[in-house]
Symmetry: C2
Subunit: 764 residues, 2 copies
């Protein structure tokens, strides 16, 4: 019996060893997706909505390259390109998937051997501090990045907390080990970008300082506190400023060596160490939008220890918790990687923008305190109003309400009294068009996610839509459209304003403001004013009321549209597809029109040199790699051909989202591309944010469980799901057959289940 | 009887009309004193220790002039030169009497006619916005300045509160009236000085913003809020920045006209108005070291009205109150003007540096709050430790204790953990030598003015005296002197460190820290190490212990001294005149030596190109126009020839202080020159701050009443006083004959009277 018991124990033990623990959600995340070519995502470490995005830069744009805005700048929006062979260093702030660039604050690089303070070139990495690396020695996980720096024989590991980047560098034995803090490096680093830098070596393990830059954000300052796990042996500062400044009595000091204070426009620092073989030097770099004291307090509260693994684990648990909100089963592992990575990318931006005590810098450059909400920045609203914020209204309603509070604070601090267009670290960078913050707010109101003052919010929306010096609004109000001779990209603007105005109307209606509703529902029909019935396209109109003569509906250049052509943009009336279909001659004609969008060929010349549109993101003349058409595939629902939505939405998912570095068909645009994928994978999509309706498509998942903040659960399942079974034969909501191809937001938030019955044949 | 009564009433009435009200103290102030050539004072408006010094600029140094630091820069330290014929505008910050320059923030100029945004040249004022003016149309009083701008037919009036500059511009009838806000203008305005400027037009009467500069202060930001009494008709911004910066979507705006937000390195703004004949447009410009919100709060609390006269009157009453602390009667009006103007100049710097709520920017560039004290900046300590702070210990003890608290806060915020050398708006500019904050603190301790933590203060003094990378201190500690081959101006440094060390010793003794006393009393004898007995001069010594071979005791260039020669500096052992006299061969020999100082001739070549020393400030080889010799004339007291002190101190007062624009023999140095005059006028002087002893001289006043903060009164009277009766025959303290030529601080603070009996013959 004794022997039998032992044998049993052995057996159980062996079973335990051989039985793998189930894979966690976050382990499906592949941060490398989108790092090649167009995705503009970064592979480094961050927590959900984290203030720090600690990630490698494979190139920094040298000043010389930046005499004008060029393609190199565009390529390095996130600092990392998968095809590159060298790493310049690791910096603390990155946008995820944007089409313009900034940030890259506080680049750190560990080196050994002769000190070099210039990064050197990719062609000749040994000419500077950069290092060759190989993907074989690289690990990218949620909140963890690791790489071997071949030229220095150093293993670099990165992780983060909310406001702190945690570096671990494992050195070889050397009496010539260095850590470089390049305070000149940055993403899109033009010559005049560095405005001021101020640094103090507080003691032999603590550096504090800040840097102010003029980039995409015009007046941006980031403060830091940087702690070393090991005392610095020696340190120094190199200054690259013009010589004709007042030096005065500073001349008495040798400011370059072991002098604890430095200030100027262009500084680089280095810190020397002796290292034993395999010795790790760790760095905690805390950021603050407010002060170095704030950065230090953030560090002390978030990471009071030197346990790298704990910080990594804590962050991964945060990811696990966020990802648990949408648990999916898929037909294969690749889909799961795609789905969870999409969710990961959707939960990076916007980012928390405040100290641990709620202090943050406002648009007026004064310090404000977020009372009763978490303050966020990085609102790329022209992108994200479409699907990302609607997604948040389902799976992140509390955060979305806080984001709206942040937008309202932005409005209050704005000298224009306007909601954000693109909120960017205490700046408005005005990127793209429209006043789509109103869509985000209206969508939250429509979905009863109103943890904010709705009357105040409505007034802020009204203010934003009447900012007369903004992008032709004066004319739009006078004429009912933006005249192309007064303000370019006039059709895109007219269409998007009309949609935004519809959002305001919906919100006003729900809030019982009938007069506001009347005004704005009228404005929302303004798309009619730029529709040329003679040719069946939206077309730029001049201030004299005539349409612009020269016109090519395929061209994205100078035709009255921005990042799009008339073909795509003429489908942009999300607030009223029925009316759009009528304008286009009815359902049948419109369906043919939609078909040809996907099947025609758009020659390169029509989109060459148009940023954000590349061949990678195009199917026919349908541009998925950029936003204006994201709702288009769902329009088949309005012409009685939902099977075409079903087929094409699956086709787009397959074509544009792959679990590989080059897997994204375009810039992820701070999560909008990913949010499209998440919705489409779940089988529904918010064609008109601001309404509470979702149009159905064809789910890609087998089963999804949405755990909502209200405690309820909503499941989606696809019976008979497979790669070929892209068509939906019937849909049941809570066991009852659904007679339309639409569901409502309350269907989700009330909890329940949505079952798609899949098949390989279209149900015409 | 009725007729008789009427006649009597008429008579009384007539008497009243003819009888002038007695002149107030502040009416004797002539802010023009020192505005010509060397004084570097400013004629504009300020209140005692006011944060705002609102004053005209007669020239701004164009960028082109500033390729190197030149005489023009030196000339315009305070922005105004009396000989100039044009005024450029009115700016809000000015040092009083410094020998280096900075500030000149936020230059405002009212104009009429065609808008011009460049200042133009003095030779051709019509080439820009500047205007001709004449002294005939100029009024300068305490807290009030008025001038007619001839080219624009505008009368400008200025007054201030603590943090607000109040402008009143009386315009002619014009539909083309402008107010220019030149945000590029500044004092010592080199090409790279403007680091960043940020402005918002909050509404049609309110502008907010800030400017950061790198000048004498390396990282200095001043925030403002600017209110107009009349709505702006139109406004605009001109930007003079490099073109290769990222403009992005800002391009959509015409930022130059009526666009409410601007940011960049180099900006100018203008505001247009229609004006009626004689219409006054008023401006309140509030400053803050913290934020635009702080500036606005300062404005709202300090000047909630538009009553220019009230603000002017309030400020003049503040002056009256401060001047009342030392009421004097003099033998003539000129002396009274000199005395009260000296008191005025003594009470301008240091300046209050905090918002009305106590918030201020610290050396670490973080925001701090002054708890329990008023925070000050502008400590020109190499100058002011000598007589200005000792004067404060008598007539401004509370403020002086607050200044020391400010210095201790500076120490705590300093990454060097050092007391200020030259505290400059949240910066250390390191100007001049020594660590003389310790003298100020020791003097306060010696005089029992200790509203601060004395143990902490002693530690701060010890820290400052051991900052090894500062100016040869490492060598000084090792060798007992600063070796000239390691660190220039070595003798001046050795001598001043030795004096400062004596101050620390005295403070330690009084605080019962015997060990500290022992260390520092030893250090205080280090002056011996640079005295060359073979020639009888202090002389630079090399690190090998030998004296520098080439040596000329008259020359101020490269001889081991700063702003002085060996002749003058060899007399700098204020802590132990007896020992100095012994070193120099005894009293008789030393007296002869002193005599020759005043009677010899110093050829120009010995001080040409030495800043701060000019013929204006020299008597023989005695340099009064700069500080190192300020105690020297009182040394006759130690050789038994006080009559020579008496005669020469009166001679110096007459020669170096005149009630005229060119009245000052040198830079007023933030009040040190004036403090010397005040002490000397009262008949005593603090030869060694840090002791509680004053050496007697020859008073210039007839009678002075010092009303002390402890409620007591100390009077000084000079019997038989006249211009010729410069000799003192006897002195009585509280009715008792004084047997020495010294009094103690307690003699003053206990209250009482000091009576000098004057005569025309020396009492040998």
């Amino acid at each position: 019996m004794k022997t039998g018991l032992l044998a049993l124990l052995f057996l159980i033990s062996a079973m335990c060893y051989s039985q793998k623990a189930p894979k966690k959600n976050y382990e499906y995340i592949n941060p490398m997706i989108g790092t090649q070519r167009m995705g503009h995502t970064f592979p480094g470490a961050t927590i959900p909505f984290g203030s720090v995005q600690l990630s490698p830069e494979t190139d920094t744009i040298a000043y010389e390259l930046n005499k004008k805005y060029n393609g190199e700048v565009y390529k390095y929006c996130a600092g990392y390109q998968y095809d590159d062979k060298t790493i310049v260093g690791f910096s603390h702030t990155h946008f995820s998937g944007t089409g313009h660039s900034d940030l890259g604050d506080f680049l750190i690089m560990p080196t050994t051997g002769t000190l070099q303070l210039n990064p050197g070139t990719a062609a000749n990495p040994q000419s500077g501090y950069r290092s060759a690396f190989s993907h074989a020695n690289e690990v990218a996980q949620a909140n963890y990045y690791k790489v071997k720096l071949d030229d220095h024989n150093i293993v670099a590991e990165l992780t983060t907390s909310q406001r702190v980047g945690f570096h671990k560098y494992t050195f070889p034995k050397s009496s010539d080990s260095h850590i470089i803090l390049d305070l000149m490096a940055g993403i899109y680093n033009h010559k005049e970008k560095n405005v001021w830098t101020f640094v103090r070596v507080e003691n032999d393990t603590l550096i504090t300082g800040y840097r102010q830059t003029q980039g995409w954000a015009r007046t941006r300052t980031v403060y830091f506190a940087m702690a070393f796990s090991k005392p610095i042996k020696n340190y120094g500062v190199q200054k690259y400023d013009a010589d004709n400044i007042y030096k005065g009595f500073w001349r008495r000091f040798d400011e370059t060596k072991n002098f604890p204070e430095a200030a100027g426009k262009n500084l680089k620092m280095y810190f020397d160490f002796d290292t034993k073989e395999g010795e790790a030097i760790m760095i905690k770099m805390a950021l603050s939008p407010v002060s170095t004291a704030g950065a230090l307090a953030n560090m002390k509260q978030e990471i009071p220890h030197w346990d790298f693994e704990k910080t990594k684990r804590d962050g991964q648990q945060l990811w696990e918790k966020e990802l648990d909100k949408v648990k999916v089963e898929t037909i294969n592992e690749a889909d799961k990687v795609n789905f969870y990575t999409a969710l990961y990318h959707a939960f990076i931006n916007p980012t928390v923008y405040m100290d641990i005590d709620g202090s943050y810098k406002g648009l007026d450059q004064n310090i404000h305190k977020a009372e009763g909400f978490t303050n966020y920045t990085t609102f790329s609203l022209w992108d994200t109003y479409r699907a990302l914020h609607p997604l948040f209204n389902i799976v992140q309603p509390k955060r979305n309400a806080d984001m709206i509070q942040s937008m309202l604070a932005h409005h209050d601090q704005s000298v224009h009294k306007a909601l954000p267009v693109w909120s960017h670290y205490a700046n408005e960078n005005w990127c793209m068009i429209g006043y789509h913050a109103v869509s985000v707010i209206a969508d939250a109101v429509a979905k009863d996610n109103t943890g904010f003052n709705t009357d105040k919010a409505l007034q802020a929306c009204i203010n934003s839509s009447n900012l007369e010096y903004y992008d032709g609004i004066k004319f739009y109000k006078e004429l009912g459209y933006v005249p192309e001779d007064k303000n370019g990209s006039s059709v895109s603007k007219t269409l998007e304003y009309a949609y935004d105005d519809w959002c305001i109307a919906q919100m006003a209606k729900k809030l019982g403001k009938q007069e506001v509703y009347n005004d704005y529902i009228k404005r929302s029909a303004n798309y009619n004013n730029v529709f040329d019935k003679t040719i069946g396209y939206m077309r730029p109109k001049l201030s004299d009321g005539t349409f612009k003569k020269q016109f090519d509906p395929l061209d994205t250049h100078g035709q009255g549209f921005i990042e799009g052509n008339a073909w795509n943009y003429s489908l942009y009336v999300p607030q009223d597809p029925e009316a759009l279909i009528q304008l286009n001659g009815g359902k049948e004609k419109f369906a043919v029109h939609l078909d040809s969008l996907f099947t025609m060929t758009l020659p390169d010349k029509y989109f060459e040199n148009t940023e954000d549109i590349t061949r990678d993101g195009i199917i026919g003349n349908y541009v998925h790699g950029n936003e204006p058409s994201h709702h288009v595939v769902y329009l088949y629902n309005w012409v009685g051909q939902p099977y075409k939505t079903q087929q094409r939405v699956r086709m787009i998912m397959d074509a544009m989202y792959k679990p590989a570095p080059d897997g994204l068909g375009g810039n992820d645009d701070t999560g909008q591309m990913s949010a499209w994928y998440i919705f489409s994978s779940l089988g529904f999509y918010p064609v008109a944010p601001g309404s509470d309706v979702y149009a159905l498509g064809s789910p890609k998942i087998k089963e999804a469980t949405l755990t909502l903040e209200n405690g309820k659960t909503f499941t989606v399942s696809a019976k008979n799901q497979s790669a070929k079974n892209v068509y939906v034969s019937k849909v049941e909501l809570n066991g009852k057959l659904l007679n339309s191809t639409f569901i409502k937001h309350a269907d989700i938030t009330n909890g329940g289940n949505l079952v798609f019955y899949m098949g390989s044949k279209p149900k015409k």
